[in-house]
């Protein structure tokens, strides 16, 4: 059940990055700091590359798939969460479009900030359901051979698109985000005030 630790770790990392994005944009919208577009680009890149392309597909293909076999009664829950993976990707694309619109038209900042809030809440609720409902059900219902296969899939974590050991690459990317995020959200230099 090593995969459970990995999933929880990945959830915390994803949540932390999305929360970081939410805080940054809220501060910019409140007029307290100047937007650092390079940092926002790095945060968007992480969310696109990690949860959307790597984490959610692993859940669908390995954890959810095996749980569907062992627990047919959970189909509505798993269908709903799988649908949210698709919807989440669409919401992320919408969010990126709003980010681009704001860069073209500063007057649309409030709409972008609201969309970031909604995206953050959406992800939080989604991950809570996975941790509160799916993982306990998996712990009760999956057989050792299920866990062996799921553990192997989550532990290898290779990204066939990037073609490199993704775990190491994302660890490095995460570190760069921590170093770039202004204090107190990260350990980077304090964000510049407006004016």
């Amino acid at each position: 059940m090593r995969a459970v630790t990995i999933i929880q770790d990945e959830h915390r990392a994803i949540t932390a990055v999305i929360e970081g994005l939410r805080h940054l944009v809220a501060e910019v919208a409140a007029g307290r700091i100047v937007a650092d577009q390079a940092l926002l680009a790095a945060l968007f890149h992480y969310i696109e590359a990690f949860p959307e392309r790597l984490h959610h597909p692993k859940e669908d293909e390995h954890l959810f798939a095996r749980l569907r076999i062992r627990r047919p009664d959970l189909a509505p829950l798993l269908d709903g969460l799988a649908r949210e993976h698709v919807v989440g990707r669409e919401r992320f694309d919408d969010l990126k479009a709003l980010w681009q619109r704001w860069r073209d038209d500063p007057a649309t900042l409030a709409a972008f900030a609201e969309a970031v809030e909604r995206y953050s809440h959406f992800h939080w609720r989604h991950m809570r359901r996975e941790e509160d409902e799916v993982l306990p059900a998996a712990a009760r219902s999956l057989a050792p051979e299920d866990w062996a296969a799921i553990d192997a899939a989550f532990a290898s974590n290779d990204d066939p698109i990037v073609g490199v050991p993704a775990q190491k690459a994302f660890r490095e990317l995460y570190r760069r985000l921590v170093a770039a995020m202004p204090s107190p959200w990260g350990v980077g230099p304090e964000a510049a005030p407006p004016g």
């Binding site: 915390r12 949540t15 995020m181 107190p184 350990v187």
Partner: protein, 233 residues
């Protein structure tokens, strides 16, 4: 794995006050232990007692088979206890690099290796201790303890007051220390689930006594026990 630390019948506290009452546990080489409990149950006092900074009333503390209880704090550090205090205790007049080199002892943890673990500290090497953010201070506190090349790392609420993005970075670092570097650790942490995810074994204190001991995985999988023992939200 051979036994590293053996605490037996430990009763200790501050002045006339008794905080820890008949506490016994062991930590093996390379093992990891979560020390959990609500606020004020004696978790920090236990770590501080291991470092020799409280009044020991009875019981024994053995380190690699030798009596530790008679040693002063600096000798315990020399013996291999690496303490990362909750308060972090940065020295305002020392730079980041001086914090690390002033405590350095020979071993596998060197300045380059600590900088590799915490690249941000390398970037801040010339900054003084009081010029660091909370997250940087916590990285430095852990790095400083590693530079003593400890056999056992005592982490007292390492995530306290830090933003989620920094917390998760420290989780990754502590996991590296435990799983890859094979360093023994005791983790005191209010975020019980986090501490359990980082460790193999767990004990829970209540009013200075151990009221629960199990594997971390078993406690993490028992929401009822977690709620009863540490009131996890």
């Amino acid at each position: 794995m051979p036994e590293l630390l053996a605490v037996d019948g430990l009763t200790a506290g501050w002045g006339e006050g008794v905080v820890l009452d008949d506490v016994s546990f062991t930590v093996d080489e390379g093992a990891s232990l979560a020390l959990l409990g609500r606020n004020g149950v004696g978790k920090t006092t236990l770590l501080v007692t291991l470092m020799g900074l409280t009044r020991l009333r009875s019981g024994t503390i053995r380190w690699r088979g030798s009596d530790l209880a008679a040693l002063p704090t600096h000798r315990r550090s020399l013996a291999g206890l690496g303490w990362v205090p909750q308060e972090r205790y940065m020295w305002p007049s020392l730079s980041v690099e001086e914090h690390l080199t002033v405590v350095a002892r020979p071993g596998r943890w060197t300045l380059p290796r600590v900088y590799e673990l915490f690249p941000r500290l390398a970037e801040r090497r010339a900054n003084l201790g009081n010029q660091l953010s909370g997250g940087e201070q916590q990285m430095l506190a852990i790095g400083r303890a590693l530079m003593t090349n400890p056999g056992l790392l005592l982490l007292d609420e390492p995530m306290e007051g830090l933003a989620p993005i920094i917390v998760q970075e420290l989780v990754g670092v502590i996991r590296e220390l435990v799983e890859d570097a094979g360093l023994a650790v005791i983790v005191v942490e209010q975020h019980a689930k986090l501490a359990l995810s980082l460790t193999r074994d767990a004990i829970v204190l209540e009013r200075g006594r151990i009221v629960h001991r199990s594997s971390s995985a078993a406690l993490a999988a028992d929401p009822g026990a977690l709620e009863r023992l540490v009131a996890v939200a």
